[in-house]
Amino acid sequence: MSNPKEAVKEKSMVIQKEMTAKLFKELSNTKETGKKVVYTFVPGNLTELILSFDMLPVYPEINALQSGMRKQSGNYIKEAEKLGFSEDVCTYVKCDIGMMVNGNVGPTGEKLPNPDLLLLSYTGCFTFMKWFENLERLYPGVPVAMLHTPYQEDGKMTPDQISYMVKQMKEDVIPKMEKVSGKKYDEKRLSKMLENSAKAEDLLVNILESAKNVPSPIDAYFAGVYYIGPIFTAFRGTQEAVDYYTMLNEEVQQRVGLGLGPITPEGELKEEKFRLVVEGPPNWTNFREFWKIFYDMGAVIVASSYTKVGGVYDLGFRHDPKEPLESLAKYCMGCYTNMNLPQRVKLLENYVKDYKADGFLINSIKSCNSFSAGQLMIMREIEQRSSVPVGFVESDLVDPRYFSYANIKNRLESYFQMLEQRKIIMKQEEEIVN
């Protein structure tokens, strides 16, 4: 395959890269600045709480996917397998472990600081617990705080569950944060941050829902995870995030006004042929190749579930400055992977309808049990409820060995032909009826 050319970028894409680089820089300077570092997860993250203690968050799964995009993950995974991690273990975990035993050099080439606190936000993924058990061994003596988020087994949050979570924060998480940071918990400051979060959340929802327009001004999967989403996790609660999303929203609304399609790495998509809803994480090791198969065919992802792992704000939830800890609890419980399967099906069914999608596609991840369980049921349900063609491809998060370009292309080509044909036949049918 020929070397990809330098990707075409919007202003927001450049800024998000700068902001991320700045965070990694800041992380590499913690020795000098004395800032404390908290390792934690994206789903159900307590970013505002961490920032309110002036600590910096590190998200191992983001490091792993960044390593994947930079073609470093393969070697890290091999390192972890040498240590005895089996082939079937989540590749985010193996990439992360491999990176750590390799001197903990982050994806940007700068060394990541060791953690001062391991905050296990245990939301929606069973592997998280085992992952942090390993980190605990890798960083002996580092305190571990666990926040257990009850799964929405019955499809709703109960007052008991909320108070259970608040209790954990009050009795375990906050005291440990106070101890590590040497600062007192400042609820006023947290509330102020949550005010910012809510503002950014409004903007984010606006941006993601812009994909309801035809043509959609954004790709809500590839672009969603590449420049729309990441800032949200690491910077939520800051003025910077509000500023970023204000600018991004303006940029997107402008595209809507001009009737423009999304920006791809090879420039603007001229003709929107297919609108898809995608379930499951993307492949990171061949991200651009994977994306290219879609935009070459004129396929735009108008809604996706993976961009909702960090929070499903389009269902109405906003962080609430008036009840800071309660709203953090509700946020954690509301993340996509913490929703039960009927809730997920309903959400995706609505996406297909509301975003006028032509098809529903699953990218099933070989090493991700959390996402894969239930996907076939989800697919069948969506097929029956929405009667759009459904597709299924398989790859992996960051293990390059499991991305078969030929297989995926073959299946996607067939899938796009299915969609095309359906359009032709349906149009003919309509003409007959009319």
Binding site: M379, R380, E383, E394, N407, E420, Q421
Partner: protein, 475 residues
């Protein structure tokens, strides 16, 4: 002028071509297992389909007459079979040349060369009449598809009769010669060949035994009786019609390529479609109530759900491993040193299927040897292997959404009786006795049929990428 449409399905193991008329009726089928490049394979399959189409047109042309004169149909069927033998002979001569050539380069000493050329001559001499007989009296059965299968079986038999020390060199010479003989496209003059075939038929009918008891291998049916003594009249009546169809121009109005090699077909980009859509469309055309299609091909297995229009709503394919596909059977046949066609019938003799747990083609070979060492019968191991293939297919079907009301099985593997046996058992076991199971004699041609049907409908997919490629080409 009649309009015809061509579908070419380039699979991983065989290439198929189907010609249809304006009513979606199949009038020509062609198949080849050549390992040559896809372009040659497509040409060979298309040539075959056109020869076959000529005979179909002949039968259609005679229309009502053929209904009251069953001996006409018998004559034409026999003629096509002998026509194939004439084609076969040309290829056999080609193989003879190749074998000779190989001998001369492979063996350095003249004396050895002579010795082996002598063996080759006598081998050929002994199997040629047998094969001729098989063709003339329709004894080839399911084997009559491929040159390689027919010849290799006889060659093996003859070589096995010779001294063991000759086995290795004779097989090497064979391996080196068969591909060039098989992979060349030979264009035949239809008229010339059909005349030869008519002559050959005359001899056959002339020499027919007087009664059944004289020769049991001749299938003495009512039509044969009608022909005996009357063949001269029949052939003279038909001669003119036969010459007419020999001159017929087959105008292909549109064509579609599908299958694994589709990207390599010498077709315009927008005449290429996914084999998943074609198999489903073809199967649905034959069985319009079908909602679930299972296709077991050479290297992949596809479980496909279709709607009432024959359009695919979802599909599942095997990834990363060919266990459960046609190639798996080919591999097992090689391991057992028997021909692919013998596998199914042998497996049918199984009285208890041995549990085969391997999900890997290569490991299945090891498992096979292991089980043989443990004293399991070959038939029972094969029974288990066939069942294992279907078990994998069942899992794909489940993934794709299960079986609804009518189920159609397509692909080359559908010729294998043991596959059909276990398929039926497992479908009934999993989805109940009410499911209608369809298997068509043209199973292997479903992809090509779907392609031809797409060509007729001109439902070519205009994807932006193909547009882009076109735009670049026109620059």
């Amino acid at each position: 002028m009649n309009k015809y449409y061509l579908g070419v399905d380039l699979g991983s193991t065989t290439s198929k071509a189907v010609i249809i008329n304006e009513k979606d009726e199949i009038i020509g089928r062609g198949i080849t297992n050549t390992r040559a490049n896809y372009s040659v394979a497509a040409d060979i399959a298309r040539d075959e389909a056109i020869y076959n189409a000529r005979f179909s047109v002949l039968k259609n042309k005679l229309g009502d007459e053929i209904k009251v004169r069953p001996e006409y149909k018998k004559y034409i069927d026999d003629l096509e079979s002998v026509f194939q033998y004439e084609q076969f002979k040309v290829r056999l001569d080609k193989l003879g040349e190749e074998l000779l050539k190989t001998c001369k380069t492979f063996f350095k000493e003249e004396e050895t060369q002579e010795k082996f050329i002598g063996h080759l001559r006598s081998i050929r001499k002994s199997f040629k009449p047998e094969i001729k007989r098989d063709y003339l009296y329709n004894n080839l059965g399911a084997k009559n598809q491929f040159f390689r299968d027919i010849v290799s079986e006889k060659y093996n038999q003859e070589v096995n009769k010779l001294d063991a020390e000759l086995f290795e060199p004779l097989m090497t010479v064979w391996d080196k010669s068969i591909s060039p003989a098989e992979n060349e496209r030979v264009q035949f003059d239809f008229r010339e060949l059909v005349e030869k075939a008519m002559k050959e038929l005359e001899d056959k009918y002339k020499n027919l035994p007087d009664s059944v008891s004289d020769n049991t291998s001749v299938d003495f049916d009512a039509e044969m009786n009608l022909l005996k003594g009357n063949f001269k009249n029949v052939s003279e009546t038909l001669r003119e019609h036969i010459y007419e169809i020999a001159e017929l121009e087959f105008h292909i109005s549109n064509m579609t390529g599908t299958g694994y090699g589709r990207a390599l077909l010498p077709f315009p980009q927008d005449c290429i479609r996914s084999e998943i859509l074609c198999h489903a469309f073809g199967a649905h055309a034959i069985f319009p109530n079908t909602r679930t299609v299972l296709d077991i091909g050479g290297q992949d297995t596809k479980a496909i759900q279709v709607d009432k229009y024959g359009l695919v709503t979802s599909f599942q394919m095997n990834d990363r491993c060919a266990a459960g596909c046609g190639r798996y059977l080919g591999y097992i046949a090689d391991e057992l040193s028997i021909s692919l066609n013998e596998l199914g019938p042998l497996a049918m003799k199984s009285t208890k299927e041995v549990n085969i747990c391997s999900t890997c083609t290569v490991f299945a070979g090891a498992e096979l040897r292991e089980l043989t060492n443990l004293g399991e019968r070959r038939e029972d191991i094969l029974g288990g292997l066939h069942k294992a293939i279907l078990m994998r297919a069942m899992s794909l079907i489940a993934r794709s959404g299960g079986v609804f009301n009518e189920f159609t099985f397509t692909g080359g593997v559908a010729r294998n009786p043991a596959i059909l046996k276990y398929l039926e058992i497992l479908i009934r076991e999993n989805y109940g006795n009410d499911i209608k199971i369809n298997i068509h004699t043209d199973s292997i041609f479903m992809g090509a049929l779907g392609g031809a049907m797409f060509a007729r409908r001109n439902l070519n997919v205009e994807l932006p990428s193909t547009k882009k490629a076109k735009a670049e080409l026109s620059k």
